[in-house]
């Protein structure tokens, strides 16, 4: 699975997570700019989803018998930030960005796992 893209998504996710964590620590709610950043990260994950599907369609397969695991991680990765973004929408306190930060860090971890699964790490 395209390593540079995976690294880019993971790095973007960590940046988003740190930014939102800082907002939470400063007792601020999520602002429009946070949502813009979430949109950018989500866009990257959608690109990754498309690339992943194209690679699978082209006959490339993750190492071992782990196509199902790979696809489930790919979908989770794409859903991660939009879901926490929606959860944070109704929360007008510091806990909104705190929730987004948790989702962003989870996304970074999922990217590591996605990389492992494609390369033949344990499912």
């Amino acid at each position: 699975m395209l390593t540079p893209l995976t690294i880019a998504v993971a790095a973007a996710a960590v940046l988003l997570g740190v930014w939102c964590a800082v907002a939470a620590l400063r007792d601020q709610s999520a602002k429009d700019w946070h949502y813009a950043a979430m949109a950018v990260v989500t866009l990257l994950t959608v690109v990754q989803l498309v690339v992943g599907i194209v690679m699978l369609a082209g006959g490339d397969r993750p190492a071992g018998d782990s196509t199902a695991v790979f696809v489930s991680y790919l979908v989770s990765v794409t859903a991660c930030v939009p879901v926490v973004g929606m959860v944070a929408l109704g929360e007008r306190s510091r806990w909104g960005p705190a929730t987004v930060a948790a989702g962003a860090f989870l996304l970074a971890i999922l990217e590591l796992r996605l990389h492992d699964v494609w390369g033949g790490g344990v499912g």
Partner: protein, 155 residues
């Protein structure tokens, strides 16, 4: 989520002003319910996959993962619904979860051979940043406090 809240605010149940019913999943509860939802999805999909593809390799570990997924799902629902009955159920579920992490964690440390494959609760949830150990403790405190925010005036 909003629609769900309206429904739960109108169906009966013991003691509760509407504010209490929303309390469990607002503020810090928002983060807590998100983490529980993530663990529910993670543990459930993992155990479903493992149970369906290689149950024989480590049946105990996989069944424990499935059990953990059920407990996480229950707590997630409790936090989203809110209300006094849900709160009590949540307290019990968090206690079960905490006991599970401690027992399975200790078990995996003392007798690793019983678990050829790891579970979410192995070594007290070390593979998951110890969140499986932290979550039930935070959950117990949150539910004990009733999820009420000081900002909400009580009459």
């Amino acid at each position: 989520m909003g629609a769900l809240a309206e429904v739960s605010a109108t169906d009966g149940g013991a003691g509760g002003r509407p504010a209490d019913r929303h309390g469990l999943r607002s503020g810090p509860g928002r983060l807590l319910v998100t983490l529980y939802a993530i663990f529910t999805v993670g543990a459930a999909s993992r155990s479903l996959y493992q149970l369906s593809t290689r149950f024989d390799e480590a049946p105990l570990a996989y069944l424990l993962s499935a059990g953990a997924a059920l407990v996480y799902a229950l707590i997630t629902v409790v936090l989203v619904r809110g209300g006094e009955r849900a709160r009590r159920l949540g307290l019990a579920a968090c206690a079960v979860e905490l006991a599970g992490v401690l027992v399975v964690g200790t078990w995996t440390v003392l007798d690793p051979s019983a678990f050829p494959d790891s579970t979410v609760w192995s070594t007290y949830g070390m593979g998951y940043l110890f969140l499986p150990l932290v979550l039930p403790v935070v959950g117990l405190f949150w539910l004990r406090a009733g999820g009420a925010r000081p900002a909400v005036p009580r009459d």
